[in-house]
């Protein structure tokens, strides 16, 4: 059957190898606006940053120094620190095409464990804190196990876990608050994240620094390490990732466990922020963190977006909330306008991506 080879070769023989790489020239993006759009298009995580800067400038012009002061601007940072930390946890989960509805519950329960261990059982604060962090991580890992191994939808798993953890939290704490004054006197370490320092009128807290550091570290990990790439791959197409050699179950469990750990840190930061340990806190953390993540441009379908976007997303909401209050909108009007903002911010994002497409 030697003829078969010859047969298929007689036209394929016409191939030669000396061709060049194709090159098309591209004469667009010549105008300044075009350039801005092009840059934003190439770096989608800059879009929320752009919206953020625009919002700050606008409120600055409207409100002057009342808004455009180190005090007000760092206040925003302090106000978003909890949401920012939780949004970091939410981001990594959403990047895997999951969702974590239990973030708020894990956060509060971890803070309650830290507080109750110290005050009810008299365990030294550092040990109690470790226990709180461990509890958060364990709940997250359980979420991950249910998602990865039992193959349940993340929405369901974390919805159920939210109810379970929140109820446990109330049952365990008997809804008792541990007062700020008591903590200050007996276990100030619990309030560590509330510690303040002043840099030229701007007030920073340890919690704010932690939030920023956390997000930058995660951004590095997601972008520059193999594990980070695997997180994206799992969210992009789980089956493909599995086939191309990623241990997707392991990655999922790690991601949910890490989310739990970050939420537990958020619980610690929460004690610093409100001074006290209060089992009724954090009820809005789910919706607020998801809002920050999506305004920040991370796709709920997984695999697309940057965690920096979530930080900007949280800040955008913070800037608008404070800005509107300063402009005199009352609580109900602010609520309404934030609703419009959410839609508008994402519409702007979409528009930028489109025109520069």
């Amino acid at each position: 059957m030697a003829d078969t080879t010859a047969r298929s070769d007689n036209y394929e023989g016409a191939l030669n190898r000396s061709e060049a790489v194709a090159e098309f020239h591209d004469a667009r993006h010549a105008t300044l606006m075009g350039k801005v759009q092009h840059i934003l298009h190439m770096n989608p995580s800059l879009v929320p940053l752009f919206v953020l800067v625009l919002a700050i400038v606008t409120f600055g012009l409207l409100l002057g120094s009342k808004f455009f002061s180190p005090f007000a601007l760092t206040l925003i940072l302090q106000q978003v620190q909890i949401v920012g930390i939780v949004a970091a946890a939410q981001s990594i989960v959403i990047l895997t095409a999951g969702i974590d509805l239990s973030v708020g519950a894990i956060m509060v329960f971890s803070s309650v464990v830290m507080g109750q261990f110290t005050f009810r059982y008299g365990i030294p604060a550092p040990v109690s804190i470790l226990a709180g962090l461990a509890v958060g991580t364990a709940i997250g890992a359980l979420n991950g196990w249910l998602v990865a191994k039992v193959k349940l939808p993340p929405f369901i798993v974390t919805l159920g876990m939210w109810q379970i953890v929140l109820a446990t939290n109330f049952l365990y704490s008997k809804n008792e608050t541990i007062r700020a004054q008591d903590i200050e006197a007996q276990a100030p370490l619990l309030q560590l994240f509330g510690a303040k320092f002043n840099v030229g009128g701007a007030v920073f807290t340890v919690g704010v620094v932690f939030m920023l550091a956390l997000i930058f570290v995660l951004a590095y990990v997601l972008r520059h390490t193999a594990w980070g790439r695997h997180v994206y791959a799992v969210g992009d197409d789980k089956e493909a990732a599995e086939l191309s050699g990623v241990n997707t179950n392991k990655v999922l469990i790690q991601v949910y466990a890490l989310s739990g750990l970050i939420c537990a840190f958020a619980g610690w930061a929460l004690i610093g922020r409100i001074g006290a340990v209060s089992p009724t806190s954090g009820q809005l953390a789910n919706i607020e963190s998801i809002t920050a993540v999506v305004i920040g441009g991370i796709s709920l379908f997984g695999g697309r977006g940057s965690i920096l976007g979530s930080l900007f997303g949280a800040l955008i909401v913070g800037v608008f909330t404070l800005g509107l209050r300063l402009l005199g909108a009352d609580a109900q009007w602010t609520f309404l306008l934030i609703g419009i903002l959410i839609i508008a911010a994402v519409a702007a994002d979409q528009w930028i991506r489109k025109v520069s497409g």
Binding site: Q79, N175, T177, Q181, T280, G282, T321, R325
Partner: protein, 319 residues
């Protein structure tokens, strides 16, 4: 007696607020004492009306003898209450009167408007002449403005001498002394954020009304962070033990104390009596409900405003 083994239902607005946790404890203790079974229900969030309707239905299905109810929506709940009464169940409103008040067989309640009024009057008296150019912030519950929220807020403003426009709406006053109001969800985190927002709006605020003591504690953290914790007057409502401790520590200037344990145990007793003798409880003289009382707790009494000391408040507190 006939009440032995009978079921009593307790339906609260939520069961996460320590106030209702205590109420449940009071009812539980009394029910055990009288050999009755207590089943407790609660809305999932403040203002969760449907869950309360479901709870009433469940109690009917369960054959309960009586229902103790703190209604989230005082007028919407009326048809459901009527259904229960038609089924021969004694319905007692606790803490919050229904609208109309006679929709329930009896009411054991705090007067929330009065609770607000007392702290308003106290704050006005405490400030003296300075009250005429006070800078007031109110830290309320949430955007849906449930009845307690409105009653306390408006009572406070009334007591402070602010002209109310519509007494059913928060925020329609025109008094220039009002810097603004914000919502707290009744917890520390919300209290802190709301205080920060209003401080950014006007850093000279010097009187703060708070919906409850957790919100007050949160507000205090915000004031502390800008070093104003000592020159701002914070008033609140509830009188839970942590709240009284905060009054003692100077976090809160004065608070209006209520008595949930009392309400609950009185309620359970009334139901036992109803089961035994078919007799309904009588309201307080001259009022259309049984007033379990509200007392202003402070160690800095003001002339013309009745109050009790922190030490007394501690005796009576419920947390």
């Amino acid at each position: 007696a006939a009440h032995g083994g009978a079921t009593v239902c307790l339906i609260t607005k939520t069961d996460t607020n320590p106030f209702f946790v205590k109420m449940k404890e009071g009812a539980q203790a009394k029910a055990e004492e009288l050999g009755m079974t207590l089943k407790s229900f609660a809305g999932k969030i403040d203002g969760d009306h449907e869950t309360q309707v479901q709870a009433i239905e469940t109690c009917i299905a369960d054959g309960a003898k009586g229902i103790l109810l703190t209604a989230s929506d005082t007028s919407s709940i009326v048809p459901a209450v009527q259904q229960a009464r038609d089924a021969g169940i004694l319905v007692i409103a606790l803490d919050t009167p229904l609208s109309p008040i006679d929709a329930a067989d009896a009411t054991f309640a705090t007067d929330n408007y009065k609770a607000g009024l007392l702290i308003g009057q106290w704050a006005k008296g405490k400030m003296g002449d300075a009250a005429t150019d006070a800078k007031i912030a109110t830290l309320d519950l949430n955007v849906s403005q449930p009845t307690v929220d409105v009653l306390r807020n408006q009572g406070f403003l009334d007591g402070f001498g602010v002209e109310l426009n519509n007494p059913d709406v928060i925020g329609d006053e025109e008094d220039p002394r009002l810097v603004g109001s914000d919502v707290t969800d009744g917890n520390q985190e919300g209290g802190r954020r709301a205080m920060e927002n209003l401080l950014a709006k006007d850093p000279t605020i010097n009187v703060v009304h708070t919906i409850n003591e957790p919100a007050a504690a949160g507000a205090y953290e915000a004031l502390k962070s800008v070093g104003r914790e000592n020159d701002v007057l914070v008033v609140s409502v509830d009188g839970g033990c942590p709240g009284i401790a905060d009054v003692e520590a100077g976090v809160i200037g004065a608070t209006s104390q209520q008595y949930p344990l009392l309400m609950a145990s009185l309620g359970v007793e009334a139901i036992a009596k109803w089961a035994d003798e078919g007799v309904k409880p009588e309201p307080t003289e001259g009022k259309d409900f049984f007033d379990t009382g509200v007392a202003l707790v402070t160690d800095e009494p003001v002339e013309g405003v009745e109050s009790i000391s922190v030490a007394e408040g501690k005796e009576l507190c419920w947390g």
